[in-house]
Symmetry: C2
């Protein structure tokens, strides 16, 4: 492809993407593709000779688009908002198009220094003190793994430089809420702690970690001669957006000299709103912190901000100094390869830079406030409807609901039958193509989650999903009642 | 930004990138920016109100471009080729623009199934048997970390499900060549093995691991009651492109039941050339393997292909099953989140798919052969020049050279003085902006590496860098000789 062909195809694909974004409301949200269908549509062997690039573009419509679940759709209410602001898409285009790699500062100074600046902009936007230093990682899973490895090394006096984890005399324990994200357990297992050493601390009635139970567990472990190594506090749990009491947890961490990592992957974005910051009161007492700019905030995936209080502790664990990476500037600059796992690094800061400039902090704030108002609006409608219930406090933009119709014995549906009903009607919503929800088990029962916050989701879309939900739930219940003779 | 504005700005940025690529030959290769200069050019706080997006685009010329070391430049001979084929840039644009995330198959079926297909295309292109299964990771650093964690778990009977690494009775050892990439040591340290348990096996005269020394070390460890856990064999060492003897190493691995990971991050790309495959003879005896499509092959960073012989061993270590990620299709499909560290995944397969289709296997092969011919051409010129020496075999596209002029006592420059001379003239080449080299320590002495293989590098560029090198080395030597009174 020549630069002139790139120009022509590039214009065509930019137009294709603009049309795609404009066409979203008319498309089914969830892919209707069955397992193996797309694979079967592709040749099983690579082409020996070059193909006409126009064919590849046509396959976007023929094969790719029908096989996508549309995260940017105005009626996408699944998982979490993973927004791709148009300015961020263009920032990422420039990043890829420049084709520079951040192995070291010298290997592309602007890549490193713009990352330093925008990570600090984000710090200010989140209301964090200047004692935090930031870096962009790919995902919160990676950020949390990095945090747990740093905690492990601090607790063992940097045993990595000697016999490693096996040579430790004391058991190292990790603590998290029973509703902590799956990446916390995964990170602890990958870091070598072992499942027996992961302590899941019970929650209170609002699905937040009980600080008293944490204190008790840590105290017992310490008394037993074990080493309390790391606590992961969740701000905005995945299922419910519940908030662990960071301030109380930070005090416990300080008392026992335990590493505190705050997982605010989704909810952290909301900290650009001063009125939300009470959700993580006490965060200044943490050692590390992750906030994904690629979720609600709208920087295209992947862009996970990882902040640490003491970069030396991070660099000590992550740094390498092979001769082929040395440069004259090393002593005066940040080499971000020493702040995470991968050596090679994309110019991710560009998309974050473009997004913040194009939106302004006020533009980002305004949209998040819109989404929170929409969530409150939905919660009120649900709470007012007979047989429907909001089952967790609405802290941000996620509304967790159940439809528990009255059964023939006059009591609301419950137990396994309620689970079956919930998953059936959510599945019907998804199959309809009219909206997309991803349920979760909350307090032991399957629950529908309406995660509001796609860029184009307006109040009308929230009203629409509520209609679709009621229709689906009532139809599922009627079908079930008919089948059961209720 | 509206879709119509996106269209206009998108066209403008595509044009900007086309112009950028066309303008590369006239630009200095290495950034001339000093530490902190770019940071100082940016506001220290984020903008409250939206900015004109045109300003952000203008800053690309004003601030970003002068601050980049240009990996796509025809006279970039540093590190390794990290090519960004134009078709791949467009594939990545579509990936970012679609804004879909591969948390699970259901969350975007095409993302997963196209990845399955193109990872298998790559397998075929590399000449690997059908018993390998592939997945795209970000970098070889991550792939190698994943391999070492899987090795750790297999060796301990999946101790992660119990007390973790600390509860192992035997010391777990990892083996690699003394010239293995820094990511191998880093991965072993992050996985918790501890530096004392990393055995660096000595090399032969051509910088490849000595299989006899490996066998001896492993035998001694086993006799001592330790557990030989993982061997990392390097195909195409970073500094020299040396190749560890994979076949002999695989036999040793089999004999001692040790996990064998093959790090072919750069050189693996060359396995699309049948005439190069003897470089990794015996690879079918490995357990895992990494080849970066984002290096010489030309898929824009990041796109690291990780292959395993037994996906169950990978999934067992990496899988998580929280309720909020379950879907009806789970039993019938691949959920690639269980094949690596991050939960969220970009649609990376698109850029690989576009590159292979637009180039055809033959197009990729032709370019790699051109680069290897250019490397041989340079090596011949260097070998024929008095006082110059090629210090390692030229297996692929990297030529390692030293200029060792005769000193006043009639012997060639050596020792610390040779190191000082080498780094001085390489630094002069880089500062000239006419070419970019990154030196490395090879066999204990600083050496200039000419890593050939940028997309636009032709024979004339190789002739040009050779001229620049000679001028720089002679000038540095003359200056030194004058200063020393030689």
């Amino acid at each position: 492809m020549t630069p002139e062909e790139f120009r022509a195809y590039g214009h065509r694909l930019v137009d294709w993407l603009a049309d795609y974004h404009a066409s979203l409301p008319g498309r089914p949200v969830m892919a209707k593709t069955g397992p193996g269908e797309i694979r079967a549509a592709l040749p099983s062997a690579p082409p020996t000779e070059p193909e006409d690039f126009g064919e590849a573009i046509r396959d976007l419509d023929r094969i790719v688009l029908p096989g996508l679940t549309l995260w940017q759709h105005p009626r996408f209410f699944g998982y979490f908002p993973a927004n791709a602001l148009l300015a961020g898409i263009l920032g990422d285009l420039v990043s890829t198009g420049l084709g520079v790699i951040g192995l070291s500062w010298q290997s592309s100074p602007a890549l490193t220094e713009i990352e330093e600046v925008v990570a600090d902009w984000m710090r200010q936007m989140l209301g964090l003190s200047s004692s935090w230093s930031g870096v962009i990682q790919d995902t919160a899973s990676t950020s949390t793994l990095v945090a747990l490895i740093c905690a492990r090394e601090r607790a063992t006096g940097y045993g990595m430089a000697r016999g490693g984890l096996r040579s430790q005399s004391r058991r190292l324990r990790v603590y998290a809420s029973e509703d902590a994200h799956s990446s916390v357990e995964k990170g602890a297992l990958l870091a070598g702690f072992g499942r027996e050493n992961i302590r899941l601390v019970p929650n209170d009635a609002e699905f937040a970690m009980r600080a008293d139970a944490l204190a008790e567990t840590i105290g017992a472990d310490a008394a037993n001669g074990d080493c309390p190594c790391a606590i992961v506090a969740t701000v905005g749990a995945t299922a419910t957006t519940a908030n662990d009491p960071v301030e109380a947890i930070a005090e416990i961490a300080k008392r026992h000299d335990v590493w505190l990592h705050v997982d605010a992957a989704m909810a952290g974005g909301a900290m650009i709103l001063p009125e939300c910051r009470s959700m993580w009161d006490g965060v200044e007492g943490a050692d590390s912190l992750v906030v994904n700019a690629h979720k609600w905030l709208g920087v295209p995936f992947d862009c996970s901000l990882y902040y640490v209080r003491d970069p030396e502790r991070l660099v000590r664990v992550m740094s390498t100094h092979p001769s082929y990476l040395k440069s004259a500037a090393d002593a005066e600059v940040k080499n971000y390869r020493d702040w995470g796992v991968p050596l090679g690094r994309r110019f991710r800061a560009l998309k974050l830079w473009f997004v913040i400039r194009e939106q302004g902090v006020s533009g980002l704030q305004k949209r998040l406030r819109r989404d929170m108002a929409n969530a409150r609006r939905l919660a009120e409608m649900v709470a007012a409807a007979p047989e429907w219930r909001v089952v967790a406090p609405v802290h941000l933009q996620t509304v967790c609901v159940r439809h528990a119709p009255l059964t023939s014995d006059g009591a609301p549906l419950d137990g396994a039958a309620l689970d079956a009903h919930t998953t059936a009607w959510v599945d019907a919503v998804n199959r309809s193509g009219q909206a997309y929800l991803t349920p979760a088990v909350i307090g032991g029962r399957w629950t529908a989650r309406v995660s509001i916050g796609a860029l184009s989701t307006e109040a009308a879309d929230v009203d629409a999903v509520w209609d679709v939900m009621r229709d689906a739930a009532e139809a599922a219940w009627a079908k079930r009642a008919a089948g059961l003779g209720l």
